[in-house]
């Protein structure tokens, strides 16, 4: 029988890494996975999250037409910040019917980036609403699909009804520097907020 290979015995007592995370929210096809893949040091990984107990409460068949889908894909990537900190980026669908996942996703998050397609603003309302209500630091990034902004940013801010101090930027999910800038906007916002690291929050109705 093979004896197991030991990890360096010192490693077990060595200080564990400090994991931190940022949530990337947005509708389908809005550029979440593209954005994560631009900055992740590993190929974007996909895991499946089953509906949790929280989902059972939401399980009103008449309001969830495609109820047969009981799992949802969760894309994520990783960036090693230094010898101690590992940053994880988790992408999540922004629609209301995935709301059961948000508490799990945002627990312990430094902040969230909401990616918006200016032609389909509806997709991100629930996420924006959730982050505002729970006080999770977030920024909104309008993805410039064809390099052009179809709406004035002020109009987008008005339509989303986000507060004036919520950062609202344009970015290109295909451009690494642009994605990093968007993450930096979220982190700087996080620094200015009193509750910087999302703690479990129970929100009625979710």
């Amino acid at each position: 029988m093979d004896l197991p290979q030991f990890a360096d015995p010192a490693a077990e007592s060595a200080r564990p890494p400090v994991p931190v995370k940022i949530v990337i929210a947005g509708g389908f096809g809005v550029g979440k996975t593209t954005a994560v893949s631009q900055v992740s040091e590993v190929p974007v990984l996909t895991t499946e999250a089953p509906m949790t107990e929280a989902a059972a409460a939401l399980d009103r068949a008449e309001e969830v037409p495609d109820k047969t889908t009981t799992t949802v894909a969760l894309d994520f990537g990783r960036i090693t910040i230094d010898d101690e900190i590992k940053l994880y980026l988790f992408g999540t669908p922004g629609q209301d019917r995935f709301g059961f996942m948000w508490r799990d996703l945002t627990e312990g998050a430094l902040g969230a980036l909401v990616i918006v397609d200016a032609r389909r603003l509806d997709d991100c309302y629930p996420a924006v609403d959730y982050f505002e209500r729970t006080g999770i630091p977030f920024g909104v990034a309008v993805n410039l699909f064809d390099g052009m902004l179809t709406h004035d940013l002020d109009d987008v801010r008005w339509a989303l009804a986000v507060s004036d101090d919520t950062p609202l930027i344009t970015f290109d999910a295909r451009d690494r520097g642009s994605v990093l800038d968007a993450l930096l906007v979220v982190l700087r916002r996080s620094l200015t907020m009193p509750r910087r690291v999302g703690l479990p929050v129970d929100v009625a109705g979710l």
Partner: protein, 95 residues
């Protein structure tokens, strides 16, 4: 389960875990053997091919057996600013 394991929480096999892995079955053994270095719950889920929720349950079993050890996302309040600033510096450096 008392503590919910965050999907980004770090997990690593203990010495007992590596010694005892051969006595474990199926997914429990796969998990311990994958955790030779610190990995996130979500990474384990991908590697072992299990849903996140199932992975959490199995990892919790192994933590109870002291075969795995974990580090969550809880940051002491006085370190939060420092950690965020370091993440900002780190991302700026690879910009």
């Amino acid at each position: 389960m008392g503590v919910t394991l965050n999907m980004a929480a770090q997990v690593m096999a203990t010495r007992d875990g590596l010694l005892g892995a051969s006595r474990l079955h199926y997914e429990h053994r796969d998990i311990v053997e994958f955790c030779r270095e610190w990995v996130a719950i979500a990474e384990i889920s991908v590697h072992v091919g299990l849903h996140l929720g199932v992975t959490r349950v199995l990892v919790a079993d192994l933590i109870a057996l002291k075969f795995l050890t974990t580090r969550g996302l809880d940051l002491p309040e006085d370190r939060q600013t420092q950690i965020i600033e370091r993440v900002i510096r780190g991302l700026t450096a690879i910009r």
